[in-house]
Point group: C2
Chain length 334, copies 2
């Protein structure tokens, strides 16, 4: 079929123009006369030419793409964020490279290196922990970075949701409902979301005049349904609390499932509330109470911030945007 690869210069020869003109047709169509343009476009179709993106990127010094590094692609929360990102990015004629860090520093660092090698214009990242060293490394190489769902120090853009408020909201709700012994099921405290939500939970306890130890902690390595199940089994063994607050809905769904299997009634025996309000929460065995976040907006705004910074690196003022979360009460804590 196509003998070898067909490049810009073969197109040029066929259309009877110079390679420079073909390049102009691709990148600055307005600069070339309509008739010439048609001839070139015809040649492109005839030869089935596809621009070599690497060459373009090499020449330009940067890729028309941004990276998105999330903690877990299996979590609908991040899928929704990604939708927001994707929509903005494709409007602006860029591409997204989606990477999964699986909450691991090592994978995060590897992903960032790949993105740096690809010379992406910028990176959206939900860091796996508090240590932003690898992010700083990236910025030192002139890659714009916006933190997603993670607030940032002043010299960086970030878009987040007030996790302290969310934790407070959840636990206050559980306390209002009459709970006295609580449990917090969470991923590692190195993950900002986890520690912030705990902070909010503790604040709620203080406000209610309760000691911090009224909140038992159950930490699992991975914030997914398996983690939730494991936590629930430990809680079952150790004696159930009145109410359980989970650091995200995936955990909560796992907890819910394990409890159901053990014959524990939610919310009669134990009240349960999650975090993120993912689509599946409402459809659970017992519809799940949760803390809703403006997920799609998170991705959308973050991307706009990032692309603005890319387009005008100097005139750009870093901003930290913080949304407020919202309590959604359903069957699991009624």
């Amino acid at each position: 079929m196509g003998m070898g690869t067909v490049g810009i210069k073969e197109v040029a020869r066929r259309a009877g123009v110079s390679p420079g003109t073909v390049s102009n047709v691709l990148n600055h169509p307005e600069r070339v006369r309509a008739e010439t343009r048609d001839r070139v476009e015809q040649a492109i179709r005839d030869l089935g030419f596809v621009r070599n993106g690497s060459a373009a990127t090499l020449r330009a010094g940067q890729n028309r793409a941004i990276g998105l590094v999330v903690l877990d692609v299996g979590n609908p929360f991040f899928v929704e964020v990604a939708r927001g990102v994707e929509d903005v990015v494709s409007d602006r004629d860029h591409a997204v490279i989606l990477c999964n860090s699986g909450e691991s520093f090592e994978k995060e660092a590897r992903n960032l290196r790949v993105l740096a090698e690809q010379r992406v214009r910028g990176v959206l990242i939900t860091p796996a922990g508090e240590d932003l060293a690898s992010v700083e490394t990236l910025r030192a190489r002139d890659v714009a970075v916006v933190l997603v769902d993670h607030s940032a120090p002043g010299d960086l853009c970030s878009v987040s949701v007030d996790d302290v408020a969310g934790g407070d909201l959840a636990v206050t709700h559980l306390l209002d409902r009459g709970a006295e012994r609580l449990a917090y099921v969470s991923g590692p405290m190195a993950i900002r979301q986890c520690s912030e939500r705990r902070k909010g939970a503790r604040r709620a306890l203080r406000t209610a005049g309760l000691p911090v130890r009224a909140l038992e902690e159950m930490i699992v390595p991975e914030m997914n349904a398996n983690g939730g199940r494991a936590a629930a089994e430990k809680l079952l063994a150790a004696g159930l609390p009145d109410a359980i607050f989970c650091a995200n809905d995936m955990l909560a769904l796992g907890v819910l499932r394990a409890l159901s299997q053990a014959g524990v009634k939610v919310p009669d025996d134990v009240a349960l509330i999650g975090y993120d309000d993912i689509e599946f929460s409402a459809a659970g065995t017992v519809p799940l109470s949760s803390i809703r976040q403006p997920t799609y907006q998170l991705g959308k705004i973050a991307t706009e911030l990032l692309l603005d910074e890319c387009d005008d690196p100097d005139g750009h003022a870093h901003q930290q945007i913080m949304f407020q979360p919202e309590l959604v009460v359903r069957e699991s804590s009624r």
Copy 2:
């Protein structure tokens, strides 16, 4: 900080060697003397050098990456496939570029063009329809292609699950359970999975001696929870059947939710079965019966096939692998 971008030649100067040696350190470490290697690696660290992937790709003619084009990143089925892909690919020191076609031909074509521009070594794709023209275009440019969850003609690799058998399994089960009037909630018939599963469903009817019209069809444009909800509302308006078979679990979850809200009891008033057996199915308001597929395997095997073809394009024999699905009965059809 880093003045301009630091390239291989600045590293070379600093280490007191030639650029070629630096390249060798990166790509063929065994060719360079240990002492020299250390010096170069030190220089790399000192300068914070990151290899420019575009230049490498340009020179090599292809990217150490493969593309994965799925119908819906929001669907846990594809997320699981992606995990299988990712695991194999990273073992072989490649990268995955994940693309979402959203079941749209246009987005599919755009994604394939981007992948072609990036000069990926190969592409794994679940086509949005029967028309494989864009896939053929890609192959004409020497990009290896493996079809995922979609059986292929002989000149192409594919890894799929027997959807006819799956449809048969589901409907036979519903019939065994005593259903007489059935509905099939599905995405567009242009999507192979949808039409194949219908074929299986009809076969089951024939086997049972029932006419094809015993299976009412309800087709929605998108195979997600919203589509399911819409279908359920139409069914409610038109008069409910005894049993509903959904072309995937996302649809089934939407149907289930809409029915619950309308006060319809599952499985007492209507039996329900989905397809894919995604993780959330078991946790539904009513745990969902489903057809299980070896999802992770699908991604894993497909990737192995693809990379084998890339590594040895000539000695490669195309194969079509087909797995058998499995019936999982839960509350929704008990």
